[in-house]
């Protein structure tokens, strides 16, 4: 038996559920040194801004116990540079491409989307309303009104499916999820990093040049699983679940919590080849249990009796 690992993400057919997380894989050329990008379900590029951005001062990362703090601050060459120099390469990779976009202002999002709308070879636009490392970034994604408004403005400018990337730095993520769904989002990516800080006690200084940053890695996985489960019960649109995936077991966990696809990020820094283990592990899990299609187990966490299920 060869189980079917393909998933349908708002009409985009992914060969398997593994999607790279934006900002952890550049624009594809570096990973392509290691493997053919078609082994991925989809490839998500680093967030594009309207104009060039320098990003934050160094040090930009600090390793924590089972986690990684970063404050890169969206260093970007801008959307036009991407279209001219990076997109032609990605078009040849035989993998669905998700283009992440970020804005200094709310109006940047529809402007970038409008520019991308003319381009071939983009499977979806992911709106990064949750970057903790730029002044206004998190703000867009922590207010349900604003999050919804940006989705609506972007949808008005493009026919390409729109995915909203949500911030976990909120009181109730379900409110944001509902708002983006109501305003036309085709899917949700979650979660972005959790805001964090670390201090070097020898110098008394913050470990990040930008003082604060976003936490990723296995330390945040239980938070991500819980939020995916919450949002899965709240909305109908599909979820790309992410946060701390290191092994295929984590992928299965996200899918049981309700994710349609699963993002990998921080683990790629250590082991870009992990994708092969993830795909192989999922296949074996399904085979051993006689499950024909991965989508059959989506959201199928087995809850104690009496607990409300979707």
């Amino acid at each position: 038996m060869n189980p079917d690992l393909s998933v349908d993400l708002c009409g985009i057919k992914l060969a398997n559920p593994i999607v790279t997380a934006s900002g952890t894989c550049g624009y594809g050329r570096e990973l392509a040194q290691f493997y053919d990008l078609s082994v991925l379900g989809a490839f998500t590029v680093k967030s594009l801004t309207l104009e060039k951005r320098a990003g934050n001062p160094t040090p930009r990362i600090a390793e924590c116990v089972s986690g990684l703090l970063n404050s890169i601050g969206i260093q970007s060459q801008g959307v036009k540079h991407f279209i001219e120099y990076e997109l032609p390469f990605l078009r040849q990779q035989n993998v669905p491409v998700i283009v992440s976009i970020a804005g200094n202002t709310a109006d940047d999002f529809p402007r970038i989307a409008e520019i991308l709308d003319h381009e071939e070879g983009i499977s979806a636009i992911e709106i990064n309303i949750s970057c903790p490392n730029i002044e206004t970034g998190c703000g867009f994604g922590t207010d349900p009104e604003m999050a919804g408004r940006i989705v609506r403005m972007v949808k008005a400018k493009t026919k390409i499916p729109v995915i909203a990337k949500l911030s976990p730095n909120v009181t109730d993520i379900r409110m944001i999820a509902r708002s983006v769904e109501k305003n036309g989002a085709d899917a949700i990516t979650m979660i972005n990093t959790l805001m964090g800080m670390a201090i070097d006690i020898d110098t008394g200084r913050p470990k990040l040049g930008n003082v604060i940053g976003g936490l990723s890695g296995p330390a945040i996985k239980p938070v991500a699983i819980k939020m995916v489960w919450d949002v899965y019960q709240t909305v109908r649109i599909p979820i790309i679940g992410m946060g701390g995936v290191m092994t295929w077991k984590d992928v299965i966990e996200f899918i049981l919590a309700g994710a349609t696809a699963v993002g990998v990020g921080t683990v790629l820094f250590r082991d870009p080849w992990v994708v092969f283990d993830l795909v192989g592990g999922i296949r074996q899990y399904l085979t051993e249990r006689g499950i024909g299609r991965l989508e059959e187990i989506k959201g199928r966490v087995v809850l104690p009796e009496k607990r409300h299920q979707r």
Binding site: D36, I61, S66, Q75
Partner: protein, 274 residues
């Protein structure tokens, strides 16, 4: 399907090397000697490898180390590491025969002169290590080499003999004067710069670079600098380790792991540089 996926894997850069020796050089530096034919024969001075700390799932990142020396005929390479945290501390436990998972060779290396020149090597602390292999190659190509190497104190001095063995005129400084000349590399560099010199190779901590680079520039000597910064991936995707580099008159953020770690002295812009 599985076979198809496997065929799509490109395994260059992913290396398993065998530990041959793991020797303590001084109070805080160790030298790890590894056997791997591909790395030993292809790594250039100034390039680095990114080492995975096995058995420590809580340490998420690989640790980058410049390759100090290669011995292609014996398939050996040496990396020097300073024990600073949990990752490097656990590396001290590595013993002969164990396997280590490496990514490499990564980054750009130093450029070797096309014809023999007068070369200056400036190293500070663990930054002395990448100059080992460079010294060996420069000497082999008949360059005249002077090295000025700085350490904090006598118990932290390492590698001096390697430079002398390769006929390099070697001057050692210690901050506290417990060995060699007293003071920083920057206190003595002007004296050394009085020698006829064509090209400088520099590797050391930020404080050293800030103090010596203006002096080298003022002396009108060309050169290159190997930079250090906290790295995430080591292969160019995370954009953690960036440096300010002049390109066509504009300062750009370049990745130390990919466009570096070696940059042209002329193009490097240090923050708060006088």
């Amino acid at each position: 399907m599985e076979d198809l996926d496997e065929r799509k894997k490109r395994t260059s850069l992913h290396i398993t090397a065998t530990v041959v020796k793991n020797t303590r050089l001084c109070s805080e530096h160790y030298c790890l000697t590894l056997r791997n034919d591909l790395l030993a024969s292809t790594t250039k001075p100034g390039q680095f490898v990114n080492l995975r700390i096995d058995g420590r799932d809580d340490l998420l990142l690989r640790r980058p180390f410049s390759v100090a020396m290669t011995r292609p005929l014996k398939s050996l390479l040496e990396i020097v590491y300073r024990v600073v945290g949990q990752g490097t501390r656990s590396m001290t436990e590595l013993s002969r025969g164990e396997k280590v998972d490496l990514m490499g060779p990564l980054g750009t290396g130093f450029h070797l002169p096309e014809k023999p020149m007068n070369c200056l090597l400036l190293g500070g602390g663990v930054g002395v290590a990448p100059l080992w292999g460079l010294a060996a190659q420069l000497s082999k190509k008949k360059n005249k080499v002077i090295a000025l190497l700085g350490f904090r104190s006598s118990d932290r001095v390492f590698g001096e003999d390697i430079f002398r063995r390769h006929h390099v005129e070697t001057i050692v400084t210690t901050d506290d004067g417990s060995y060699g000349l007293k003071g920083f590399v920057s206190d003595h560099v002007e004296e050394v710069l009085k020698h006829p010199l064509d090209h400088a190779y520099v590797c050391g901590p930020d404080s050293m670079l800030k103090a010596v680079l203006p002096k080298i520039r003022r002396a009108g000597i060309k050169g290159e600098v190997s930079l250090e910064e906290r790295m995430g991936c080591g292969y160019g995707v995370c954009l953690s380790c960036v440096a300010n580099i002049l390109e066509d008159g504009v300062v750009e953020k370049k990745r130390i792991c990919t466009e570096g770690p070696v940059f042209d002295l002329e193009h490097l812009v240090l923050s708060n540089e006088p």
